[in-house]
Amino acid sequence: MTSKEAEALGKTTRPRTGSRHPLQRIGLPLVGVVLLIATWEVTVWLNDLDSIVMPRPMEVLRALGDLVVSGEFWDDVVVSLTEFGSGYVIGVFAGVVVGVLMAEFSVFRATVHPVVEALRFIVPFAWIPLVILWFGTSLLGKTLLVAYATFFVMVVSAAKAMQQVDPTLTKVGRMLGMSRWRLAFAVQLRAAAPTIASSARAAAAIAWIAVVAAEYVGASAGLGVLIINASTSLQTDVVIAGMVVIGLVGAGVSAVIGWLSRSYLSYV
């Protein structure tokens, strides 16, 4: 995963121009959703599709309802979120530390940079078979995979953000007699924090994709497993319901991280 990709995930297609009227803001997307569901319904009806190929919207809704009331479903959500959370925290922390070191010490940067660049081309997905060989379906393997996916996004963006801090700030700090570390932590890291936070949010999206992928190829529980089990028993309605859940959790995680970084960085 590259930092550009992280940028893409952080980007939205939301129009920048604010809607003039709340009816437009809520009404038009609603029309879009209704049109989508109508097209879906009509496609199924016209082609007389089997529910294995394409279930009707109501069936998916019912499957979603069944999932929500069943206990196993929540276990799967918890498993996926645990894998995500543990790996993400490690990845962000390690990534920011290495990124800051790379920005601070040019020797360190010159030494580590080629290794980081080379490893970045081994995308997290390519690690999945090896991780399964090494760690089986354990939590540790998934944690490491998620940490790996997060780490490279964070290293690159943290180093970049630190180096793009307004040089005046550094000069002012130096003039005020700040030590090198005080300057790095109290001035540069703070100034770089908003950029780092926004790439942390993008990294969360990548990490969430990695979690589901890892579960898909080898796991004993989690949302990826939920989808595989549903698809092997040909319950396409449950598959789509699972996809909806994956999307919702992914969006939720990203919103929570956005909210956390906003409230933590209230000074900016």
């Binding site: 995963m1 590259t2 550009k4 990709e5 893409a8 995930l9 980007k11 939205t12 297609t13 939301r14 129009p15 038009l28 997307p29 879009g32 959703v33 190929v53 394409m54 020797v107 940067r109 010159a110 030494t111 580590v112 940079h113 080629p114 290794v115 660049e117 080379a118 081309f121 081994i122 995308v123 997905f125 390519a126 690690w127 999945i128 078979p129 090896l130 399964i132 060989l133 090494w134 354990s138 540790l140 690159v156 180096q163 969430w208 994709i209 589901v212 992928a213 898909y216 190829v217 989808i227 595989i228 549903a230 698809s231 598959v239 789509i240 699972g242 996809m243 994956i246 999307g247 992914g250």
Partner: protein, 275 residues
């Protein structure tokens, strides 16, 4: 710097100067790579007897040998079938995304109606689509192309919408003042303005799409690099697994290099902006 990778960490200007002036910065890089290889070799040696969670770690040498033997046997065919899926999905998904993005970006009503839906689909990872793509398209070529195309589509459309909504208003007004017809304005202003942004999307989609090829082939493993990866994984051949991973990485790297070269030909002003 820009020739190696699309987005390397930019050095501070004075550092860049120093790097160019003194060859010893190259030495640090070489030392870093050598150290990484050394640590890897030592770890492999230490874990050879079976050490905890990582039961076996192939040594760099063994991986190199595997890579060489795979290169002479089967790699070309696997690479060809993986690349075919990738190129079909990447171009198909990207071009479709550019068209849809132009439509949704320029026609505000449609944009307001359908962009939230696209926004809602994006957090669903492409892997989650695997069961549906198998039900819809079977296990063959087309289901993988669908997955790759979807992944690339969801990346490129963001750039396409961004590109055509961000065309400066004064340029649009100027073109109107100069008496351009809507069709002329579209061809001469909006299309080029969007395309340069779409190309960034294509570049980002490069790695997203290539990553999805791996996933699609891991799941529906009948041909390609991913199938090979799965096959050697089943026979517990760690050196071969790592060699295949390297293949993926090298192919991804080469694609990025080629794309950077093409992009520079197409949009010479882009690199000026980046600098």
């Amino acid at each position: 710097m820009t020739t190696v990778a699309p987005e390397t960490v930019p050095a501070a200007p004075e550092r860049a100067e120093r790097q160019r002036g003194q060859p010893r910065w190259w030495l640090y890089g070489a030392a870093g790579v050598a150290a990484a290889l050394g640590i890897w070799a030592i770890l492999a040696q230490m874990l050879a007897g079976g050490g905890g969670a990582i039961q076996r770690l192939a040594s760099p040498l063994a991986v190199g040998e595997q890579l060489a033997s795979y290169a002479t046997d089967g790699m070309v065919a696997d690479l060809r079938s993986s690349l075919a899926i990738f190129v079909a999905g990447w171009l198909g998904g990207g071009i479709l995304a550019a068209l849809v993005g132009l439509l949704l970006g320029r026609v505000t009503l449609l944009g307001r109606m359908f962009l939230p839906i696209i926004e809602a689909i994006r957090p669903v990872s492409s892997i989650a689509w695997v069961p549906l793509s198998i039900v819809w398209f079977g296990f063959g070529f087309s289901s993988k192309v669908f997955l790759v195309g979807l992944a690339v589509f969801l990346v490129v459309i963001v750039y396409a919408v961004d590109g055509c909504t961000r065309i400066p208003g004064e340029l649009v007004r100027t073109s109107t003042m100069l008496g351009m017809s809507p069709m002329q304005r579209f061809r001469n202003l909006i299309l080029p303005g969007t395309l340069s942004e779409v190309l960034i999307g294509f570049r980002v989609g490069l790695m997203a799409g290539w990553g999805t090829v791996i996933v699609a082939e891991l799941v529906a493993a009948d041909a390609g690099l991913g199938a090979h990866l799965m096959a050697v994984q089943r026979s517990y051949d760690i050196a071969a697994v790592m060699a295949t991973m390297l293949c993926f990485a090298i192919a991804g790297f080469l694609m990025t290099v080629v794309f950077t070269w093409v992009e520079r030909r197409l949009l010479p002003w882009r690199l000026e902006e980046q600098r």
